[in-house]
């Protein structure tokens, strides 16, 4: 469903700050895949997401989504098919606007000059009720007054209110406290399962990288160094993963958060 062929991206080419963030990366994602991505800081995980979502255009290579070439498609048009959540819970919502207004924009029903209809209000309220956070009674309050976890849950609802073909989750629970994080994760799994979404997740938790979903990718130096699925993945433990990384890249995983995260 997503076919990435030989993409590369170099930032600040020709300067002392030149950085090859993606180097001849290819990846095929199948329909219904739930892929966890791990890697050291600067491995190119978020850059890969930026390339898929269209935050920048790649220097070379092509990206196909559901048979359509999206390599040069602007970000806001790709957003119709690609939902995305960031680590920063403030990034996905407009703080001065109400919960209802944020959701209505994401839902995008009706013409430009139409207002939020009563029917739509009802629909949005029901959607928010699914989050189980009591937000359905605060539809008119500004999103800026919500907690980080509530905002992230709302962003998740906004990203999936029109089920996208592809959902990109960039450590979207990393900035939340453990209890909220677990709740948002649970919600994510529920929404992904219900809509049978194809999903890519960047995580720093080695354990969940192996237990969550059906495939694990490990990235280093702007490329994918391991792509593990099926039985190989079943039999793998965190220690194996760390050893594999060291063998391949010649260095230990230096993602400090990764090392500090205990198995849950």
């Amino acid at each position: 469903m997503l076919k990435i062929t030989d993409i590369s991206k170099t930032f600040n080419p020709g300067t002392v700050n030149e950085k090859t963030a993606l180097s001849h990366l290819s990846l095929t994602v199948n329909d219904g895949d739930f892929i966890s991505i791990i890697g050291a800081n600067g491995a190119g995980k978020s850059t890969l997401f930026n390339a898929i979502a269209g935050s920048f255009f790649t220097d070379e290579g092509s990206i196909e989504l559901d048979g359509e070439d999206i390599t040069l498609m602007p970000e806001h048009i790709r957003a119709k098919a690609i939902g995305r959540l960031f680590q920063d819970p403030l990034r996905g919502t407009a703080p001065d606007m109400s919960i209802e207004e944020n959701l209505a924009l994401a839902a995008g029903h009706g013409g430009w000059l139409s207002r939020i209809s009563r029917k739509e209000k009802q629909m949005l309220r029901e959607k928010v009720a699914l989050l189980n956070m009591g937000l359905e009674d605060r539809m008119d309050s500004p999103v800026g007054l919500l907690s980080g976890g509530q905002r992230q849950a709302l962003t998740l609802m906004m990203a999936t209110i029109n089920p996208p073909k592809l959902l990109l989750l960039d450590e979207h629970t990393a900035a939340l406290d453990p209890a909220t994080s677990a709740k948002v994760l649970e919600l994510t799994e529920k929404i992904v399962a219900e809509n049978r979404l194809t999903c890519l997740v960047i995580t720093h938790n080695m354990q969940s990288a192996l237990s969550q979903g059906n495939r694990t990718l490990m990235m280093d130096g702007g490329n994918i160094i391991y792509d593990i699925a099926g039985d190989d993945r079943e039999n793998l433990c965190v220690e194996d993963l760390l050893k594999m990384f060291k063998d391949r890249s010649g260095k230990a995983l230096d993602n400090d958060r990764m090392l500090l995260t205990k198995d849950e």
């Binding site: 806001h76 957003a79 407009a94 606007m97 944020n102 924009l105 000059l113 939020i116 906004m158 990203a159």
Partner: protein, 313 residues
Amino acid sequence: MSNLLPLFQTALELGLISSLTVLALFLSYSMLNVCDLSTDGCFTLGAVVGATVALAGHPWLSIPAAMLAGVLSGFVTAFLQTKMGVDSLLAGIIVNTALYSINIAIMSGSSLVNINKSETVFTKMQAWLAGIGLDKFNKLVVALIAVGLVALFLYLFLKTKIGLAIRATGNNPDMVRSSSINPVMTTIVGLCVANAFTGLSGCLLAQSQKSVNIDIGSGMVTIALASLLIGRTFIRSRRMGFKIAGTILGAFIFRLVYTVALRFHMPAYMLKLVSSIIVIIAISGPYIKSKFPMIARRFKRAGAKKQTAGEGK
């Protein structure tokens, strides 16, 4: 009392007319988060176009003409900053400068146009109101109708999907893009609408004072910002209707204070200094307030040091 009432009426008329520019900034500055520095030139453009069309014998046509001119000016400003890579403040300044030449060109090379003898929307309204003996209030009625319509339009507009998208663009453009909306489009639409109001404001002021000179709009952006910020301190409601009402109130209060100050022999040329100071206080006030605990601590520490030094002697 008898000579205070006309004074109040003049303040109300001028306040209402300039409140249209304040509403324009409410849209561009408060909602879209773009500080549109082409406001001065666009205000003059509206005045010049309005006066020229009225002079040609079409007082009613002057209003849509001035608004359309504003839309064009807003479009250029928005286009420069969204599609041509020009910084948004610079885009406003560039358009403002260019409009100076354009405005003089529209006035056929002169920097002053007199429309004393020509029909305006105000003289038309005066003729109508004479029938019911209210011809003294012609300016007030025209201004009230214009502000009422613009405020109502803005209220409804900001609740539409495009209105929500414009508000979101000023709030979090990332979120707009991820909602499959192009923030370039919302910026262009927002600035076109805002500048239509600015053009209308200039058109009405020119016709009410029956003349227009090239300096009619100079300092308008600061005056309008001052009014906007005054209104915000008076009405702090989160509801859109109240915010819009607060904006109009701000413009009126500004005019009233100014008129009163004139009565107390403040020279008229002080207007722009006063409006600048109001903007400075309104914007830097909250900033300094947030810094205050730190400043207080620093003073305390300095005081304590002095004391220990004194004890050491």
